[in-house]
């Protein structure tokens, strides 16, 4: 479908429904038949399930898939999300029967191959991050953050320092950081960012003085959400350690560092990794996420059990952990996601690992340079894996907001970048191209952005009314939030 053509609105599966029509053959029952009502109690007959033929069903969902937008249909520069392409070989290995058919309740002694995969992923991530241990147990990024804070809390308490109740979080942080801290019972103190986009060291020193012996930790994203590497990272870690605090690294932006530099060498005590961002496990549709965490040896005793480790030449799932914080997930991570991450890491190989960070940083800087005359970068220095641009001048001079630019981008056939984050940059557009895009794709995107910025000056209503070529126009987000109603019900 051409990019500027209006798409027809799809019908609902219910529109095709006719009473009694059946789209599947249920195999003959190979167990004694039981009356459903007598087995489960009352059976509802008011569910209004669609009744369609197999072909109608197939067409309906195939047509829906054609209007879906994903990394396999186009460029997806959603900042802070690392929407890189996940190579198909990951899917092939995850579908190998030996992995796919494992039962979660199988005795550990029967799954040496699975343990080998888990241990392999851990070992490679240890080498990449520079930490002494990795656990794959947390099942989402924020879950990994929270697990790190739980380890920090257990560490302080083990030293008789349960009075450490304050966590410092820079004002550029992802919202999950203060949320994880609050969830662990900490109070949160915000640290401002200086004009250059770095952590404000004077403000950090003041905060440390104010909080005194109660500081538990600093949660720092590096590179920051401004797409900038924190140049004072070693000094910041030392300031926290001198005050008796720990330093957690939010690893959301690890894509900028893979193979090039290691957070474990910067002075961090622990970090989380989003395997679903950096290490190419599925990301859309809610995951499932994978929030592996890395830590220095002083936090190891508190690790959630089991710990997958080497013992006398054998990989074991060690449950004998007297100081453990306990389990943080029902099982050990998302196993088939670990298979995908393992495949990705092995397919790349150690010798090419640095290409991930080099190309992702190069691509972001290319976009930044090409767009700097129409959309100025928030900070005047090279960015890391994502660039932060501001559309403030269009708002002031033409009444066009960052949101309008993003909506217009949909008409040009691209997924919009992240808007209005980080919160400290006005009319913010956050663009993360990732390493998997070619120069040609980046040029098409930049051409579209430059064209849209021209429209913003000459015909701003094109942006105010966008998108105008999709199945729906601008959605009423306020109505959607305040009066959410996603049920379908037949006309009565």
């Amino acid at each position: 479908m051409s990019r500027m053509q209006k798409m027809p609105e799809p019908e609902l599966i219910f529109d095709r429904s006719r009473p009694g029509r059946i789209g599947c053959n249920v195999p003959r029952c190979d167990t004694p038949e039981v009356d459903v009502a007598s087995a489960v109690g009352a059976v509802r007959d008011d569910l209004h399930l669609p009744e369609v033929s197999e072909l109608d069903l197939l067409r309906h969902f195939t047509n829906l898939s054609h209007i879906n937008y994903g990394i396999e249909t186009g460029f997806y520069p959603l900042g802070s999300c690392t929407m890189k392409y996940n190579p198909k070989i990951n899917e092939q290995t995850a579908r190998l029967a030996g992995f796919a058919n494992l039962h979660p309740m199988q005795p550990v002694a029967t799954i040496p191959g699975a343990l080998e995969i888990l241990y392999g992923v851990q070992s490679m991530l240890i080498e990449i991050t520079g930490f002494s241990t990795i656990t794959l147990q947390p099942v989402a990024g924020a879950h990994g953050e929270m697990t790190c804070l739980m380890l920090i809390k257990a560490y302080h308490e083990s030293r008789g320092e349960g009075n450490r109740t304050v966590v410092l979080v820079p004002d550029s942080a992802h919202g999950t950081n203060p949320a994880s801290a609050a969830r662990c019972g900490y109070s949160v103190k915000s640290i401002p960012t200086d004009a250059a986009g770095n952590t404000d060291l004077a403000a950090l020193a003041t905060a440390l003085e104010e909080v005194g012996p109660n500081v538990a930790a600093l949660m720092l994203t590096n590179p920051s959400t401004l797409g900038l590497f924190e140049p004072n990272i070693e000094r910041i870690c030392k300031m926290l350690h001198d005050a008796g605090g720990q330093v957690f690294c939010d690893g959301a932006n690890m894509n900028a560092m893979v193979g090039t530099t290691r957070p474990g060498d910067h002075g961090f005590d622990c970090m989380h990794l989003n395997l679903h961002k950096t290490f190419s496990t599925p990301h859309g549709g809610g995951g499932p996420g994978c929030g592996a965490i890395g830590l220095q040896s002083h936090l190891e005793p508190f690790l959630p059990a089991p710990v997958i480790r080497m013992s006398e030449g054998k990989i074991i799932a060690d449950e004998d952990r007297p100081q453990t914080i306990g389990r943080v997930a029902g099982f050990y991570g998302q196993f088939l996601m670990e298979v995908r991450a393992y495949t990705y890491l092995r397919a790349f190989g150690k010798e090419h690992m640095a290409d991930i960070s080099r190309y992702s940083v190069l691509n972001a800087n290319y976009v930044r340079e090409r767009l700097k005359d129409v959309l100025p970068p928030a900070h005047d220095r090279p960015c890391m894996h994502e660039c932060i641009l501001t559309a403030e001048k269009y708002k002031k001079e033409h009444g066009v907001r960052a949101l309008d630019i993003s909506k217009r981008l949909i008409d040009y056939g691209f997924h919009p970048p992240t808007n209005y984050f980080p919160l400290i940059v006005p009319e913010c557009l956050m663009i993360e191209p990732t390493e998997t895009e070619t120069k040609e794709t980046l040029d098409e995107f930049c051409d579209a952005m430059i064209s849209i910025c021209r429209e913003a000056v000459e015909e701003p209503d094109l942006l105010h009314d966008a998108p105008s070529t999709r199945i729906t126009g601008r959605l009423d987000e306020t109505l959607a939030v305040k009066n959410l109603d996603v049920r379908w019900w037949p006309n009565q």
């Binding site: 919202g175 949101l403 808007n419 209005y420 919160l423 987000e477 306020t478 939030v481 305040k482």
Partner: protein, 125 residues
């Protein structure tokens, strides 16, 4: 240009204060509501809660973001605007009137750091 009434006091964090006797009425400014966009939820404190200057007294959620609300004065919460529960859009349509958020019974004088309309005009742009 956003509307900045001359009879109010303002905090740099974009709250306004109207002082009548020892009661202060607090809301967010026209500039703040326009930056936030459509407000979908306002979280307000319990009546009776004691607030110091700079304490977080609630939060305002728009389609774009969630922002904390900071008390520009010290005192006890006397009343909250009950209309905002079901009509949070009042913060957008009438920020200085029906969109008010809380009334505080003052326990200390109004801080001298609060800005007048002219001073706030220099912040809100």
């Amino acid at each position: 240009m956003s509307n900045i009434p001359s009879d109010l006091k303002y905090a740099k964090s974009h709250e306004w204060v109207r002082v009548e006797g020892d009661v202060a009425t607090i809301g967010i400014t026209d500039f703040a509501q326009s930056e936030l966009g459509d407000v979908v939820y306002v979280d307000l404190p319990a009546v009776g809660k004691t607030l110091a200057v700079g304490d977080i007294f609630g939060s305002v959620e728009s389609v774009k973001t969630v922002s904390d609300l900071y008390s520009p004065v010290a005192g006890n919460v006397l009343e909250i605007n009950p209309e905002l529960t079901n009509a949070s859009e009042l913060v957008n349509t009438d920020p200085y009137g029906d969109g008010w958020m809380i009334k505080i019974s003052l326990t200390a004088s109004v801080p001298s750091e609060l800005l007048d309309a002219e001073g706030y005009g220099a912040v809100a742009h």
